[in-house]
């Protein structure tokens, strides 16, 4: 069944969101038009504003509407620590734990030679410039525990060590509250290989 052109356009536009197929998009569109007109308007307004104003932080490259993001501008953060992550969502995840007080650098991706993404495409010269500018005592490599993430961590660790700085990698291990029986063999093997003295 086809709707009037404007409704069709709205449904098509909503489908740019992740996890939204034709059926969900249709439900969203009708919900907004039938019951949530004011909410829909404020969504449209804030969306336009956010897309126009949110850019990348000049220091850490995370998403921010100010030139320096709030984390970089905060002088209480530990300037001797720099944590390297793949995406802005990773910054958020680490911040939620409340156990890290240093600064960040967001790669906005990872090295993936088979996708044609090498050091140049990833813009690693920005990271080198940052290392020179901040010269942290320790660089924490918090890229994802995928093979590409590991390769990225290794490459950056070499860059960091060449400058006489300390590079550390977040640990791999079994998740808290899990049962060993249900953990995949590769994770378990890694946690055994990296077991720690108690």
């Amino acid at each position: 069944m086809s709707f009037s052109p404007l409704i069709n356009q709205l449904i098509a536009a909503l489908r740019c969101l992740p996890g939204v197929g034709p059926k969900t998009a249709q439900r969203m569109a009708f919900h907004l038009l039938e019951r949530e007109r004011s909410g829909g308007l404020s969504l449209a307004k804030i969306l336009e504003e956010a897309i126009a104003n949110v850019k990348h932080c000049h220091r850490c490259r995370t998403l921010s509407e100010t030139e320096l993001c709030l984390l970089c501008a905060n002088t209480n953060r530990d300037q001797t620590l720099l944590c390297v992550v793949e995406t802005p969502a990773d910054v958020f995840a680490i911040e939620q734990t409340g156990s890290y007080r240093g600064l960040y650098f967001v790669l906005m991706g990872r090295l993936s030679p088979l996708d044609g993404i090498g050091p140049e495409e990833l813009g690693l010269h920005h990271l080198v410039a940052r290392l020179i500018e901040q010269s942290p005592k320790e660089v924490v490599l918090a890229t994802n525990p995928t093979v590409e993430g590991e390769a990225t961590a290794h490459y950056i660790a070499e860059l960091v060590k060449q400058r006489g700085l300390r590079a550390t990698r977040i640990a791999h291990g079994v998740p808290l509250g899990g049962e060993l029986e249900f953990i995949d063999g590769n994770t378990l093997a890694r946690s055994l290989a990296a077991r720690a003295e108690v």
Binding site: P113, D115, P119, V147, E150, A151, H154, Y155, N186, A189
Partner: protein, 237 residues
């Protein structure tokens, strides 16, 4: 069991890509069907049953169904633990995968090469010389692709290669003799006969042998790669 279902075949993932919201597109190297692509539905979701499994360098047993376009993964089981490649060894692993991705045609079976790949990964885990492993694999790959290097004789089944002679490499013909150890008349790199014989016998024991083998295999591979460089080489600092 569905029609067209292939059951529990040994395979390695060469590369994965995100596909739709929660699925993965897998590029695999299988023992009987060679290089294939599969969709693993729901593999990226938080409740994925493949957690930690669908990664390169994990020996897998996989089942799939479908016609030759976009086939679907049905079962994936670990066939041993992931090869433990760290640091530079991991980069070497990427290099092997990129070579296979670039040079193998889909659905061309290479069971021997599959064994060689497995052996190379095993070797990369703890060998002191990663270079020798890479060279042996490159040589095997060229042979499988039908571009085997003839290293004991000159081109056109000419005279035997002499250890104290110098040669240059013509990609279309093979090894041709040249006068001195300096560059040949046409400007190509020159190889000493000793290195060629060492590569022929798979006895790359010397640093010079390894360096020559690297130069020669690179020339031969570049020919097949149409001059487009391999990205994983850029990661070696």
């Amino acid at each position: 069991m569905r029609n067209n279902e292939t059951i529990l075949q040994s395979a390695f993932i060469l590369h994965t890509r995100a596909y739709r919201d929660t699925s993965l597109l897998l590029e695999l190297f299988t023992v009987e069907q060679g290089r294939i692509s599969l969709v693993a539905r729901g593999a990226r979701g938080s409740r994925s049953r493949y957690k930690g499994l669908l990664q390169p360098f994990v020996p897998l047993l996989i089942s799939w169904y479908g016609k030759s376009e976009l086939m679907t993964l049905t079962v994936a089981e670990a066939d041993g633990v992931m090869f433990n490649l760290a640091g530079e060894r991991l980069l070497c692993g990427f290099y092997l995968n990129e070579l296979l991705m670039r040079l193998l045609h889909r659905h061309d079976a290479h069971p021997q090469l599959f064994m060689a790949y497995q052996q190379a990964l095993r070797g990369l885990q703890n060998a002191t010389s990663m270079a020798a492993i890479l060279r042996a694999f490159e040589k095997h790959l060229l042979r499988e692709l039908g571009y085997a290097l003839q290293l004991d004789r000159e081109a056109h089944s000419g005279p035997l290669i002499q250890a104290d002679q110098f040669y240059y490499f013509d990609p279309d013909l093979g090894m041709l003799p040249c006068e001195s150890s300096a560059k040949s008349t046409a400007g190509q790199p020159v190889f000493c006969g000793k290195s060629l014989l060492a590569l022929h016998a798979d006895e790359l024991i010397d640093k010079d042998f390894l360096r020559d083998a690297k130069r020669l295999l690179r020339l031969a591979l570049n020919q097949l790669l149409d001059g487009k460089p391999l990205k994983s080489r850029e990661l070696f600092l």
